[in-house]
Symmetry: C2
Subunit: 312 residues, 2 copies
């Protein structure tokens, strides 16, 4: 938290919790909740990589927080606060900063978090942002990727593929009359606060793409995952594009829905825990070589050219 924070700090200081010491000290001071484990995650948003130049700064701010919040949601954690780093081209004007800070403020309220501190610098060219989120879980209560068991069903919240189609729509590559798909790409909704610790054996948030993220659970849990493509929940807006967009829907990233391994006798408990949020059974874990097999309506394997977002 150097003094280079000062310009942006005028906008950010009102967002700081007491842990942030007014953003005027070298570091933040935080008293951990007694008897809990802390959960830390960090994610960045880079102009031209994770967002499109000219995207509304308030939405960039909110997506930065939400991508990190979604990682906490996947572990079953309750968020507390965050540290923020910003690197902005020196010409960045005050209205950008004001809108960016406003987006942070909105989501701080929505998700009950506070700014703990940060670092700000000028950048030579593009905007680069990162946030470290801090949350907590009860001791031993964290959901992991490695807990899936053979016989567990594969479940997913919400609908899958909207954000990948929304990104195409934002590049003018497909029509999105209602703006629903673009909105799912610009402002994902992390699935916070579901009480899944005694229901799910494993969880992950879908940031890299359904097939790839399912693969992460399979690898960590040493299981085969059988994914039924026709069962994957699809929004009406995404369904409009039919099977032509199947690969994009199943391998595209940025949905931030939760993918869960749930034993069959917990199906009803899962539905209850999810309340109004739709949750859909899309496949099964079995013993076998770790990896994902995607099946069509005839039980034939579908091969995809790519299995998700790869930043490298």
């Amino acid at each position: 938290m150097g003094d280079e924070f000062s310009r942006i700090a005028r906008y950010l200081a009102p967002l700081a919790g007491p842990e942030g010491l007014g953003l005027t000290d070298d570091a933040a001071l935080f008293t951990p909740p007694a008897g809990q484990q802390l959960v830390f995650t960090t994610d960045q948003m880079l102009e031209g990589v994770h967002f499109i130049p000219g995207d509304p700064p308030s939405l960039i701010a909110r997506k930065l927080l939400r991508r990190n919040l979604s990682d906490l949601a996947a572990m079953g954690a309750t968020p507390l606060g965050y540290l923020l780093t910003t690197a902005l081209p020196s010409g960045t004007d005050e209205s950008w900063l004001a809108a960016f800070a406003n987006g942070l403020a909105q989501d701080q309220t929505e998700f009950g978090i506070k700014l703990f501190g940060g670092d700000s610098s000028s950048s030579l060219s593009h905007i680069s942002l990162s946030a470290t989120l801090i949350g907590y879980v009860t001791l031993g209560g964290a959901l992991r990727r490695n807990g899936a068991k053979a016989g567990d069903d594969i479940w997913v919240t919400g609908t899958i593929g909207d954000a990948a189609l929304g990104l195409l729509a934002r590049y003018g590559k497909l029509q999105d009359y209602s703006g629903f798909l673009a909105n799912r790409s610009l402002l994902p909704m992390p699935r916070m606060g579901l009480k899944l610790a005694d229901i799910a054996h494993a969880a992950i948030d879908i940031s890299d793409g359904l097939v790839q993220d399912l693969g992460h659970i399979c690898e960590a849990s040493h299981l085969a995952g059988h994914l039924h493509a026709m069962l994957v929940p699809t929004s009406p807006e995404a369904a409009m594009f039919g099977d032509a967009m199947l690969e994009t829907r199943l391998t595209g990233g940025d949905d931030y829905e939760l993918l869960l391994a749930v034993p069959p006798d917990k199906s009803e408990a899962l539905r209850l825990a999810c309340g109004d949020l739709p949750v859909t059974k899309i496949g099964k874990f079995t013993n076998g070589q770790a990896g994902v097999t995607t099946l069509d309506q005839h039980g034939q394997e579908i091969k995809f050219l790519k299995s998700g977002w790869q930043h490298f």
Copy 2:
């Protein structure tokens, strides 16, 4: 911690503590030490802003950690671990990654810290790095900027101005026969582990420049700071350049020494606490308008054109 972490994770996974869950989960899981407060700080290193393109990757890694460690030192905190974000141009080769990871490993050993997690992405052009450090202090034991009292002396560890001259040397703007000055710029030494909680009223690390960082204590503590330029400790290598470099030495950044407010009756305790590390009295805090007055050997005020690094 998306899958984009995978390439660099091959180099980073061996650096992870148990909190990092093998760098294969969505977030890190950390059990805080009982009865302590946690200290969080975050700082970035951007190519072309905080380091020179082509700088050795191991030194970039170590300086990234050390800049953050120094913020913990200023609060009197003991470091535990860190989260790391990297954004590297897609052509970055394996040898760069290997050397970067090696630098992290060296300083993990030197400072007793572990990798908790991170995020990695490709960048469009320059390298950008950030780290969030996590440490702890005993409850209420953190040193702050706002605790200085009228009558406290101003003390500083080590020597001041080496890093700023070292940066000039690295740009070929002055001679640095021994390489001492460049080394002070490339590989600062954070002043960890000094037991100052019962000695100093306030502390800050000198990252922005002596005059500017003293100004931060003055503002936070609502005091006037009187700095005697001739008392500021100078290495023989820096002293060679005489008064021509006085402004650079006193306003240049990146020294990562500690600046302290210490009541006169604690001078001896301070020297003892610092052990082999030189510590020098360079001025005094008094009541008066918050700000720094720099005085020459005749007690005349010296005005500087700039008062430190400003990234904005």
